[in-house]
């Protein structure tokens, strides 16, 4: 008998179909990778199996767990299944735990809910489970806010596996985590599945994660499963066009011309950025150094990558480069002039920026024309607004008439095009791309990378490409720098660094990054 059988699962809100006739089977101990872009229905499928979908959604279809029809159970009986027979792990570890309860209580809760276990025995069990997920050194009485993101995700996993369920559903469990932490969490999940013989549904947008983890794969698009099969087969011989397109986009490398050595536009020397320590009863804690003596230079037309995990200081460095915050040591020179918090407008116009969040980067009340033209504030003699905006819109592949619309009318990818247009309109020497493609689906990401490569060649603009995503940086940069704890630990030609990293930290980063196996069809 199969572990899980989903038959014809359909979900709709009113007349809108969100999930259409989703069916699949899972064997005990099997890892199923459920892949798709945002909005494809992966999470809805997971919540549908758990029967945790919002009430406004109407659900049809059968869900059999070891032959028992979950869809027919009363809510009370279903509560007895959740956590005991099916566990679930969510994407966002920072908010998935109750901030007011200790982690020990939260793990013990699963045990106490489903078994007649006393308080002390449940805590004992919680201790064992936390040990198992690699938190031997963390006390039961700690609160979530005292733990790192990766540690919190281990606690969430501990809650889900405390009673060794037959099926574990993990919804993008590592998307919010740094790459080394992602590697550790994936290893942990794989170990737990193997040890307990659990089935695992791993939901992800990242084909490389599936390649590393899963036995079988189901590819979802617009609420349907379009292709399924063994991972090795599907990744090497995809039959559906959508799977092929996803694979191609995942390994996409924009075509870029090699360039000759050119003049330096941005020079950073021994830059230090420190924050005053937190206030204490008397005086302050010692200052926190976020950037500790960083030096590099960026040449005209060059694409330079800056890679680092969260907390490495890369965003702090970015704010200093943009002249938004003062530096406490060293100097940033842009075109030969010193860039700091008091820099004049004439200097500021030489650097532009594209941020990560395609949704938070624009004032929702402004028209696209006004948004794109906002940097004209830096010019003493701004050209007529409308023609300039229309021209730059065309450059980034949008229509001139888009200038009259508001930002909510655009998709994530289109918004990033608008963000690029806003940076480009005053023709800066340097554009700082701060995780500019990290929030995008793979296909859109490939298009934006192509656009960036084209614009770089056309306008001779230099990029400083800040990202935590090594594969993206590898695809688009000439040189790369690796940042850790406020310092640049390694830098060099991108291919050279990726092919033969010198520093242990770089090797660790590369090893942790899931990659699609070589030689698969695209």
């Amino acid at each position: 008998m199969s572990l899980l059988s989903v038959q014809g699962l359909s979900v709709r809100i009113g007349a809108l179909d969100i999930l259409r006739d989703v069916s699949f089977e899972m064997e005990p101990g099997e890892v199923l990778g459920l892949v798709g872009e945002s909005g494809s229905g992966k999470s809805i499928t997971a919540l549908g199996i758990m029967r945790l979908l919002p009430e406004v959604m109407s659900v049809e279809g059968a869900i059999l767990l070891q032959g028992e029809a979950l869809d027919k159970l009363s809510e009370r009986r279903m509560c007895a299944r959740r956590g005991r027979d099916v566990g679930m792990v969510f994407q966002e570890p920072m908010t998935a735990l109750n901030p007011l309860h200790t982690i020990g209580d939260q793990v013990a809760e699963t045990v106490r809910l489903h078994t007649r276990t006393g308080r002390r025995a449940a805590r004992q069990r919680a201790r064992e489970v936390l040990d198992r997920v690699g938190l031997e050194h963390i006390g039961l009485a700690r609160f979530p806010h005292e733990l790192s993101g990766g540690q919190r995700q281990r606690v969430v996993i501990a809650c889900a596996i405390a009673l060794a369920p037959k099926l574990l559903i993990a919804d993008e469990p590592t998307t919010a985590l740094d790459v080394t932490t992602q590697g550790e969490i994936l290893d942990l999940l794989r170990r737990l599945v193997r040890e307990d013989g659990m089935g695992l549904i791993l939901i992800t947008h990242d084909l490389a994660v599936v390649a590393k983890m899963a036995d079988r794969i189901a590819v979802m698009q617009l609420g349907r499963i379009v292709e399924r099969g063994l991972v090795t087969e599907v990744l090497h011989r995809p039959t559906h066009d959508y799977t092929r397109a996803l694979l191609a986009a995942s390994r996409h490398q924009p075509v870029r011309a090699a360039r000759a050595e050119a003049a330096t536009v941005l020079d950073v020397r021994d830059v230090v950025r420190s924050y005053p320590g937190t206030r204490r009863l008397l005086g302050r804690a010692p200052p926190v150094e976020a950037v500790r003596g960083v030096s590099f230079s960026l040449h005209q037309g060059e694409n330079l990558g800056l890679v680092g995990e969260s907390g490495s200081g890369k965003s702090t460095l970015a704010r200093a480069l943009l002249g938004l915050e003062p530096v406490q040591g060293g100097a940033i020179t842009l075109g030969g002039q010193v860039m700091d918090a008091a820099a004049p407008r004439a200097l500021r116009r030489r650097i532009g920026v594209v941020f990560q969040d395609p949704f938070g980067s624009f004032d929702p009340r402004w028209t696209v024309e006004r948004l794109i033209a906002e940097p004209f504030h830096l010019l003493d003699n701004a050209p007529p607004r409308r023609p300039a905006v229309e021209e730059v819109l065309r450059s980034v592949g949008l229509q001139p008439r888009d200038a009259d619309r508001h930002i909510h009318a655009f998709s994530g990818g289109q918004r990033q095009r608008i963000a690029i247009a806003r940076a480009l309109i005053i023709r800066p020497d340097v554009i700082l791309l701060d995780e500019a493609v990290s929030a995008l689906d793979v296909q859109v990401r490939a298009q934006i990378l192509d656009l960036l490569a084209e614009l770089s060649a056309r306008f001779e603009v230099s990029y400083l490409f800040i990202s935590h995503d090594l594969s993206v940086v590898r695809a688009i940069t000439d040189r790369v720098m690796v940042m850790q704890a406020g310092r640049i630990v390694e830098s060099g030609q991108t291919e050279a660094v990726f092919a033969a990293p010198r520093e242990a930290y770089t090797r660790q980063l590369l090893a942790a990054t899931p990659r699609l196996p070589d030689g698969i069809a695209t």
């Binding site: 908010t95 109750n98 901030p99």
Partner: protein, 312 residues
């Protein structure tokens, strides 16, 4: 934790000092000469001068401020111009009406608001929710002193369950509580309505949190999640409102005491202001402000009990 406590304590003290200077300025500096006020328009200059000396008004402003504050620290608030008794005695009598009244009303409003707020949140979008929301909307709109008048008509005049007004004193606790019951109910009605709405929206917000979904995935039922997780998290905004309400209840008590002829701080204030007995006004206002500030401080400390993130 200690750090936070000391910070709050410091800002409490600064607020009190600035508030006392403000009150002192308004009462003693701006409106002119209290001695002349007391003796009336046609008083002899010598008489005024003598009274000034007797009241200590011929000392410098700063010296007078410190005399006042020094008196506060030793429990000597001066002597009432009209009653000719120590202000401290006057206030001490009245506090034991106003403070129990405010606390009684606060307790009532909490006891009423919590269950109906929780029911509304759990039945969100259904008939019970709409009914409760409509009733609380009405409860907020009813002026408490108007509501109090009709309570008097119904329960004191028609049904004769309680006295229409007055206060028998605490030597007979049952009678005292009976006398405070109608005032407390009328004070509590609008506050309970507000609190119920806050409870509902706070609970709805927490029910949308990720950790609630995690708890559901562990197998908790909807009501189990509310009990084990959502309620305590919802207490954070609710506590803020309870703290603010104490201030509103004190203010409301000042007015409600007039409806029920209760000899509390409110009545004292109005009598004092009508008789321009400003020394009584000064210390009574200071006392009320102090009560508000101290309650805000206590609420701040209560946050730390609820929320471990604040216990540093």
């Amino acid at each position: 934790m200690l750090m936070r406590f000391m910070q709050r304590l410091f800002s409490l003290i600064v607020t009190l000092i600035v508030a006392s200077i403000l009150i002192f300025c308004v009462i003693e500096v701006l409106p002119g000469d209290p001695a002349a006020f007391m003796l009336g328009m046609n008083a002899e200059p010598e008489a005024v001068a003598a009274l000034r000396a007797q009241m200590g008004l011929d000392a410098g402003l700063v010296a007078r401020y410190f005399t006042w504050i020094g008196g506060w620290l030793t429990g000597d608030f001066g002597t009432s111009y009209t009653y000719r008794v120590p202000v401290a005695e006057l206030i001490a009598d009245r506090v034991w009406v106003s403070l129990p009244l405010a606390l009684y009303a606060l307790g009532l409003s909490t006891v009423i608001a919590f269950p109906i707020g929780i029911v509304a949140a759990m039945r969100r979008g259904r008939a019970a929710d709409y009914g409760i929301m409509g009733a609380t909307q009405l409860g907020i709109a009813i002026p408490n002193f108007w509501f109090a008048m009709f309570l008097v008509v119904i329960f004191a005049i028609n049904l004769r369950w309680v006295q229409a007004g007055g206060f028998p004193g605490w030597h007979d606790p049952v009678a005292a509580i009976r006398a405070l019951t109608l005032p407390a109910i009328s004070l509590a009605l609008p506050q309970a309505s507000i609190l119920a709405r806050i409870m509902r929206s706070a609970l709805i917000d927490t029910l949308d949190e990720d950790y609630v979904r995690t708890a559901r995935a562990k197998g908790l039922s909807r009501s189990g999640v509310v009990r084990a997780h959502a309620l305590r998290n919802a207490m954070i905004p609710v506590l803020t409102i309870i703290g603010l309400q104490f201030s509103f209840l004190l203010a409301g008590a000042i007015i409600i005491e007039n409806v029920f002829y209760l000899p509390g701080l409110g009545r004292l204030l109005f009598q004092a202001i009508n008789q321009r007995d400003l020394i009584v006004v000064e210390s009574t206002v200071m006392l009320l402000v102090m009560a508000v500030v101290v309650v805000t401080f206590l609420v701040d400390l209560a946050y730390a009990i609820v929320d471990p993130r604040l216990r540093r």
